[in-house]
Amino acid sequence: MATVERKATGGIGDSVLRKEDRKFVTGEGRYTDDLKLPGMLHAVFVRSPFGHAKVKGIDASAAEAMPGVRAVLTHATLPVETGVLSASNPPGSDVRQPEQPVLARDEVRYVGEPVAMVIAENRYVARDAADLVIVDYDPIAVVCDAEAALADGAPLVHSEYPDNVAATLKHETDGFDAAMAKASRTVELRVVNQRVTPMPMETRGCIGDWQQATGEVTLYTSTQVAHFVRTFVSIVCGTSEAKVRVVAPDVGGGFGAKLNTYREEFAVCAASHKVGVPVKWIEDRTENAVATIHGRDQVQYYTAGVDDTGRIVALKMDAIQNNGAYHQLLTPSISHLTLFMVPGCYDIQDISIRIRQAFTNTTPTDAYRGAGRPEATHGIERLLDAVADDLGMDAAEVRRVNFIKPEQFPYSSSTGLIYDSGDYETTMEEALRLADYAGFPARRAESEKNGRYRGIGLSTYVEVCGLAPSAVTAAIGIGAPGWEHSTVRLHPTGKATVITGTSPHGQGHATTWSQITQTELGIPFEDVEVIHGDTAFQPYGLGTYGSRSLAVGGVALYRSLGKVREKARELAAHLLECSVDDLEWTGTAWQVKGSPDRAKTIQELAGAAWAAASMPDGSEPVLEATTFHDPPNFTFPFGTHVCEVEIDPTTGRVEVVNYTAVDDCGNVINPMIVDGQVHGGIIQGLGQALYEETVYGEDGQMLTPTLVEYLVPAASDVPPMTLARTTTPSPSNPMGVKGIGEAGTIAASSAIVNAAVDALSGLGVRHIEMPMQPARIWHVIQEAKA
């Protein structure tokens, strides 16, 4: 896109360089493993090598006898009150919530489930001792595939649930059957959204520090949601929430993996309680592959009822979601987000959805970048291409026919959402122009001359983000609200502290929140400090996930800044001996209208409010304001991604040769940061499309436990990208902002797969599953030719 000038300082709309960067480029970032507390011991977990087994006994005597070992804790000796709790109970789904003990009691249900915890003076000794813990397992039959788990006679993951059904979500419009009956044709498609792993570069890790005398506990943990963790630690460890402090130090990426409350977080607190000193655990990468949540793993069966113009008049989706062995924080609700977005950006009035969720002998799935929406988008975008193929229509044309039109906003979707704003066709046309869609046939002909198949694919997505109106989270059975907090505090020197409940881990909130503060309150960017990720300093907050930080937390900040500005106005009127109505805001000061010599800067007012020598009647000292902002609606970013691929028929390799993204996330605070989010999001979607898959063997073993088998793409494996934006402000908040953290990932996989299918469409290929690794593509070509 047109490069926007990057600045060292600035306000809303400027590409300001990040104030976070210096500590990270100098090595002064402080991640959890960088912290060292006095007397701290190290924990290593003994984990199940079996996908399903009875635990008949644990012999830790050799480990306990090893010099340097302080304790070996098991379910019987770890002082906790309860197991891991899920906050997700979708109403009407008959959701089942199996007990998930912090350390396995008598049965393990996936490879990697923690059974014992060795605590020693350093991690080397703890590792050695863990190898000496002897666990007597009696293996049981496993089932890892969700469709297999729901079949008759499947091994049972939890013996108390005789069908492996975890929950069932259903939604159908009244007119569905009639609408489907009227369709002139139906198009069917089965789409697999394979299991993937978030793989933040920093694995998880935590330190529990229980003060024996007071019962206060501090948990340092690599999390996106410190406040959730605080509540759950208090419940699981049996202490007052007021005694629990959770600190998220610098967090090295999350992508949803750290939007959770994990067994190890409870275990280090309880272990510290038990041994009397701080206990640290740092996850190995091989542990991360089994102990941290996975994402996706949904199989969808679509039937589209279509009329002769290509319009989808009725849509049915029957899906199966693999929940894994237990329910983590939001597991049963992730496919609820899929359900919401099944119709995508298309005006499909009649819909029927069923999503059956299954227990399997695998690591639990939960929110991974996009969390349910990539599954919906990938499916509907593949389906649109299948409809176009069926009717012999152009992929862009079938989208034009089905798009929700600009005049239909706010738009009530057939799944019960109200889309705030959008102009899908304008954005698509811009993307088609930038990607030279019209010139594609010539490029395809050129590739054919070189013996390569070339294809072009579209993804026209809309997503739901800005989680979430609290009434909605309550209505869909998520046991947590969706508001966010901010506090703005002006110091007597005129500097500002901004406290936010959001919890950035790469998103640059210190920079963007400072920009908002400069624009809205006139405090220079460099005079703003942003505090996050420490429950001791923040009132309640909810954290960073679901592309919510700006649309909820940023708006909370905006409102606090407005409150401070208005309080400053009253003080200025008092000091200037005029009415508040006589004052105008200059951007940095209140002045008597038309009289620049009669003005008080915000810094002067901050000092005066602190000194409190002369305050208006009834006004309290200090310029400070707090807001708890509960959004009235979600926001709905959208856009069009266009991908062009070349396929080498001799090897089957798919190479992305052009990638163009036009996104619309409403008003933008920092274009540079938004572009960075889009870049990273696209490459995670590309990773799922081309490289990544978390694979279990039939025996329940994890076949992709390291970064050697689990293929996170590197710089040489990804294409350069062309980005652009349109701007359709959200009417749901005063800033007109939406969200951008997940959009790239939501959009990318279908654009890439659609391009590959297009490339091979001449051979009669109609669908390709992910990841499109060379061997898969080669076989697709061979079979198509046969």
């Binding site: 990057r6 480029v25 090595g27 080397y124 610098d250 790469g506 870049h679 710089a715």
Partner: protein
């Protein structure tokens, strides 16, 4: 069982006793408290732990501390001089080449290895030279731009 080693890190000689199995990265992080060098995998795949040993970019998770006895090690903490960011640090900042920052020290040390070996590297060569360093946040586009910019800057000065 400990062995005494002397390693010059960022210009300062450190003599310490280490267990022979101690990984160089753990020695740097836990004995010298130079925590800017990170650990991201168990398999020499991610590059987070990249440092320079005697001028070569290497993985400090795949080397024992005892192997660095007598060597000169440069870590991310040694890049900044007299409060001035090194051109590679400045370039990552100016090009938004980092988000969460976890891969950044290793990425910069690997990049420096490339620039020093091949100052005129093309964007494609830069991408290939960085293939041993994984980043999950940026999609690499701005990292490549940062390395390109640092290479140009260093070639000029």
């Amino acid at each position: 069982m400990g062995q005494t080693i002397t390693v010059t890190v960022n210009g300062t000689a450190h003599t310490a006793e280490v267990e022979p199995r101690t990984l160089l990265v753990h020695f740097l992080r836990e004995q010298l408290m130079l925590t800017g060098t990170h650990i991201g995998c168990d398999t020499s795949t991610c590059g987070c732990c990249t440092v320079h040993v005697d001028g070569e970019a290497v993985l400090s998770c795949s080397m024992l501390a005892v192997q660095a006895d007598g060597c000169a090690v440069r870590t991310v903490e040694g890049l900044e001089q007299d409060g001035e960011l090194h051109p590679i640090q400045q370039a990552f900042h100016e090009n938004h080449g980092l988000q969460c920052g976890f891969c950044t020290p290793g990425m910069m040390m690997a990049a420096l290895g490339i620039i020093e070996q091949n100052p005129g590297a093309s964007d494609d060569e830069i991408r290939h030279a960085l293939e041993g360093n994984l980043c999950r946040c940026t999609g690499y586009q701005n990292i490549v731009a940062a390395v390109r910019s640092a290479a140009d800057q260093m070639a000029r000065s």
